[in-house]
Structures are given as structure tokens and as C-alpha cells.
Subunit: 134 residues, 4 copies
Amino acid sequence: MTPKEIVHKMFDNDPFSKWLGIEVEHIAEGTCQLSMIVREEMLNGFGIAHGGITYSLADSALAFAANTHGRQSVSIDTSINHTEALKEGDKIVAIAKEESLKNRFGFYKIEIKRDDTIVALFKGTVYRTNKDWE
Amino acid sequence: MTPKEIVHKMFDNDPFSKWLGIEVEHIAEGTCQLSMIVREEMLNGFGIAHGGITYSLADSALAFAANTHGRQSVSIDTSINHTEALKEGDKIVAIAKEESLKNRFGFYKIEIKRDDTIVALFKGTVYRTNKDWE
Amino acid sequence: MTPKEIVHKMFDNDPFSKWLGIEVEHIAEGTCQLSMIVREEMLNGFGIAHGGITYSLADSALAFAANTHGRQSVSIDTSINHTEALKEGDKIVAIAKEESLKNRFGFYKIEIKRDDTIVALFKGTVYRTNKDWE
Amino acid sequence: MTPKEIVHKMFDNDPFSKWLGIEVEHIAEGTCQLSMIVREEMLNGFGIAHGGITYSLADSALAFAANTHGRQSVSIDTSINHTEALKEGDKIVAIAKEESLKNRFGFYKIEIKRDDTIVALFKGTVYRTNKDWE
């Protein structure tokens, strides 16, 4: 399967990524770009986007980017810094970059931006299983 | 304001924690216990709970626990390991523990469990602002 | 090999743990306790222990604790918060706790203390290879 | 003080960075490049560089890069992935990149390389105090 076929197979069966309103903007081996718009139901008690929203967008980007190589890959360790508050209506974009790819592990950085401003920095490590996408 | 008043003020105005179906089971200074049930719309393309769901529950637990001291506190750095797959219908509980509390920073561990099994391990650092809850 | 035999085999051939002056205080399956004393050559430009010193002690504790089960295990992801400054002459103790053990991965928390005060919090994830200690 | 003056003031009084044999290769506002060579006394029980060595190099790079702006800055949260084993004699280079700079916090990524190969990935968050270098 090609990177696009794999990501579309993952995304078409992913109810939470759909609830988030994620749009798949770009897919290639080892990377992807996703976007979404912050809705009222995604806010927390401070009236800004709940930290789980940007995390979820980035975690989907990690899963898609890591699986493009054709081996089923699962997240082992992820971390995120929230650097800017997000308001309802803000469009955010997540861009996944593969920092290092080994036989058993892949290491990714995902930048989440609103226009040109970084709003969150995400780091993810995945374990690459022996199971291929087919 | 008491820890319970602060958390209820945060929670009553937190649409995303409500969408998650979070129940506040326990609140005390420096800690809290939350629970929720995984729903179909929270699954990912592997048919298990999206990583963003457990993260979001834990992130709410971090925010509530850290703010109980009466100073407004914001998350600076969070990380999570997903150690078990979760299915639709699973009930998960997040228990926040304050590991260290300093003037400017608080350090928390949040265990997420299904029954007695750890399903995710979350670590969070918060910055304690000068603004009090009132 | 027993947990003690494994750790002593690792420690006896570990020049950097020896340079640190690490003492192995306790070993059991899934855990260990190490101590050391901060020396002048371990300080940084602020006159306090370099962050790499507490990290190194904790990283040794992670390696020892994770290998006690008899499977060779390697660190995949580690993080640390430095919560207290350390001075020359301070004795610090690292206590490793296994939070979750799976077939392929182990998850550990290591508390670093000076007397009863936490001075750093370390989290480590290891990959458990198929190679046994023998 | 200029970035170079600040880093040299820090480095000239930093016994552990000197023990590591760190060379300061480049300094500019928000960044720095350091190098060192792995020595026999830096190895662990597997005969490869102890994880604390690459961490220490990266942690020095974080401290230097973050302080170049003239405000005294301290590390709050750091994490590292070790992606390649290092042998005695290997030369490693750490390059600090400022991902985001806010009033109170700075977020940095540090790549550690041997020639063109990434051997470790480090992420660091610093707290920017009100105290200036002078």
C-alpha cells in the first residue's frame, strides 16, 4: 500500500479524528500535514482550547506519519508543550517531521501552528511492529 | 475558595471535559480523581481509544489538581505513555499525585487505570502564576 | 543469573558509574537503590551540580532496575525535572520503581532525593530485547 | 553582556563541562554548538557511552543557548532519546535550536550528531528569571 492508501485506511475508520474535524492536507513517506478548526465544545474552563485538543491533532499526525512506511507502528512515548492559548475559530496545522528512523523505532517532531506562530511542540516515539499494512 | 469550589468552577465551564463525560470522583488539595467511559466516537483507526482521549482525561486531572492550592496554574510540559489498548465501554480512572510543589512550579504524576491495571502514565509540570482564584 | 549478579556484572564494567562514585545500596527484581556524593568537579557555572549528574545517576538506576528481570533492556526515552539545586558534598539517593512491565517495554519512575527532599524526578522507558543475561 | 561573554562566563566556571572536554564551536543569540570526544571513562557496562554523557553535553548546550539572551534561565524539563550507540573516540556535536521563546519560558531542541548521523534527540524547557547577566 502507498502512504496515501495507508493514511486513508486509518483515517476512514477513525471516529475521533473525524470528530476533531481533521483535514488531511498532505501525505508522503515519513510525514503528513493535518489541520482542524477549534470549536466551542473543545474549550476548557479558561475559555481556551483544552490541551487534549492540540495533543490529539498531533497524536493523529504522529500515527499517520509513522505508518506511511508500511509497517504497523504504535506510539510508545509522547510529550507536548503548549506555548500559546487557542481560541474558538482558530485554525491549527500540524506538520510531522521524521527526526530518525531505525529498524524498531521511529522518532518524530510535530509542530502545531496557527498561521506562522508555533502554538504547541510535540515529540513522539513509535515502535515499529513486524506487521505490514496490506 | 476551597479546592472543591475551584475545581467545580473550572469544570462547570469546561465544555470538552463534559464532552468526554468526565465524572469528578474526589478532590483535595494537590490531588483529584476523575473517571470516564470510552465511547465509540473516541476510537481511532485501530478500533481502540485514540491516544488523545486518555491524554485529555489526564490533562484535566492535572489542571484540577494543580489549581486546588488557590493559585492559577498552567501546564508547561506534559508527557504520556500509553501502556494498554482501551476498548469501547471501558471505564478509566485518573488519579493525580503531587510529586513536588515549589513556589513557581508544581510536578505531578497521573496514573490512568482500568480496574487495577495501569493503562497510561502521565507526567505534568505546571507554572504557578501570581493570580489567585477568587 | 540473579538480579544481584546481573547488576554487579553491569556495574563492575561501568567506568562512568564508577567515576560518579555510585554505591549500589539495594537490588531486587524490578528495582534498585543507588547513592552518590556530589563532588567539586561535578558542578556547573552556577556553582551547583550539573544537570547531567543527577540524570546520570538516575539513568544508571534505570538500566540496573530494568535489567534485573534477566532480559537485556535498553533505554528508549528518558526525561528529568530538576526541582532542587545541589551543592558540593550533598549525598543523593536514587530509588527506581517499576510502574508497568510489558513483554516488549518497561516503564520506570526514579526519585532522586537528598535526605527526605525530592531533588529530581526521572521517568524512563526501556525496550526489552530477546537477549538474556547469562 | 554579549552572548559570547555570557557563555564564556558560564563555561569558564563549569568544572563538569570541562571534565567532559566540551569545546564551544559556535555561539549566537538563542543557539550554540558544542562538541566533545567520548573517552574510556565515559562508557557504561555495555562498552558504549553512558546515557548521561550525551545528556550532559546537550544539557550544557541548553543552558548556554538559553542564557544568551541576557536573562538568567534555568532548566525545568528535559528529555532525551538515545538513538545510536557511541564508542570510545567518537566525536559528537550538539546543536541547539530555539523552537519558541516567550517572556517566561524558552523551548529548545538539541540534536546530537556523530558526523551526519543523529545519535540523540534532546528537548528542553527553561524558565527565564528576572535576573540579568551582568
